[in-house]
């Protein structure tokens, strides 16, 4: 389940996302945030991703926002693009 979702996101990143201009207000982008969150936290990660997508709206100022790992540290290395 996790890997299916993550590969769907990777597919989106490779084929669909480049069609539009860069648009995410956060770093890492919502899609890579979601990929990391889901692979680390599973179902909870899915909810985290949804919440991130909602936070990324015209009234937000964005910023740097990494997924927290289970022990509370920030995951910034592995998940790029």
């Amino acid at each position: 389940m996790r890997s299916a979702l993550v590969s769907a996101i990777k597919l989106y990143q490779k084929w669909i996302s480049p069609m539009f201009l860069a648009r995410c207000k956060y770093y890492p982008s919502c899609s890579s945030y979601a990929a990391t969150a889901i692979s680390v936290h599973g179902f909870k990660g899915l909810a985290m991703s949804a919440w991130r997508l909602i936070r990324c709206n015209p009234w937000s100022h964005g910023g740097v926002d990494y997924v927290k790992s289970k022990n509370g540290s920030l995951i910034s290395g592995s998940a790029t693009t």
């Binding site: 480049p18 069609m19 539009f20 201009l21 860069a22 648009r23 995410c24 207000k25 956060y26 770093y27 890492p28 919502c30 997508l53 990324c56 709206n57 015209p58 937000s60 100022h61 964005g62 910023g63 740097v64 910034s76 790029t80």
Partner: protein, 307 residues
């Protein structure tokens, strides 16, 4: 799913019915033109509602000019570390409470409406027709028989053997593809500041997609009812027009369109400026800086008036 979307079905069908009532005296209620205009009207209403968001985004993009020195500094400081670069840029935006990026919201906001319209129109195309939202069975039957250039508005390219349907769908799909293509191209050629080499990869990718997009439309469009194609074509045309206006009247600083506008304004006021030297004039950095300062002024003065 249908329960969640029910309010949207009601909203979409209500707007369609209202506009249909409005235009019926002119084009007759049974005409496909009336139904087509209803869909076009729906698009126009949605896009007008989204204008404030667009303006907000353009404003924060322009606010970026002030941050340009900071951005340059970040880029040169973290030349070899894209991640650090992006991080620092996002931090900068947040500090200054401005963010030039659009977020997914404008797309995501339109998706449910698009989906609702799709369902409503598909219901019309069913045999027997199914009513969604505030549409009555009489409305749906009327719409199912309404044709535009001989093609029922609920027909799809693949689902019909009618020659008119084929012609109208192909025309609309071509129109959709062309508007998307020209919109993207216009932005890439005129609307964006010249990219530095680090962004070349992205530019290359965008170029590929420039051609892939129309192809995707052609493949997916054959499954869509004519009404949905009308919706899509109209919204594309709107996007193009909106962008055309911004590129002409209020282009991104540093983009080719911006330089053109500057040159035009300079000509009008009778000042001669070395336009072609704007981007690269390493010989006389002092004098170019002065000129740049002069150039930005007319834009800045006019800006408050417009809004």
């Amino acid at each position: 799913m249908s329960n969640i979307l029910n309010p949207l079905y009601i909203a979409v069908s209500w707007v369609i019915i209202m506009i249909h009532k409005l235009v019926s005296p002119i084009f007759s209620p049974d005409s496909g033109v009336s139904w087509a205009l209803s869909i076009i009207g729906l698009v126009i209403i949605i896009r007008i509602l989204l204008i404030p968001l667009f303006v907000k985004q353009i404003k924060s993009q322009r606010a970026l000019t002030a941050l340009q020195p900071h951005l340059k500094a970040i880029q040169s400081k973290h030349k070899d570390d894209r991640q650090k670069q992006s991080e620092e840029m996002m931090k900068l935006y947040k500090e200054h409470k401005t963010n030039p990026l659009a977020s997914c919201f404008p797309i995501l906001a339109q998706a449910p409406i698009f989906f609702a319209l799709f369902t409503v129109l598909n219901g019309i195309g069913k045999k027997p027709p199914r009513a969604h939202g505030v549409l009555t069975i009489a409305d749906v039957n009327n719409a199912a028989h309404a044709t535009i250039f001989g093609a029922p508005i609920s027909a799809t390219f693949l689902g019909s053997t009618n020659g008119s349907v084929k012609i109208v769908t192909v025309f609309l799909i071509a129109f959709m593809s062309i508007t998307t293509f020209t919109t993207q191209r216009q932005l890439m050629v005129k609307g964006m500041p010249k990219m530095d080499s680090s962004n070349n990869m992205m530019l290359q990718q965008q170029k590929i997609m420039l051609y892939a997009f129309p192809l995707i439309f052609a493949v997916s469009g054959v499954n869509f009812p004519i009404g949905v194609l009308i919706y899509w074509s109209t919204t594309n045309l709107w996007t193009w027009g909106q962008q055309f206006y911004v590129i002409k009247r209020n282009p991104t600083p540093g983009s080719p369109a911006y330089l053109e506008l500057q040159a035009k304004r300079a000509r009008k006021s009778g000042i001669e400026l070395p336009v072609e030297n704007q981007e690269e004039s390493p010989q006389t950095p002092g004098s170019t800086l002065e000129i740049k300062g002069q150039r930005q002024q007319p834009v800045k003065k006019k800006r408050p008036k417009k809004k």
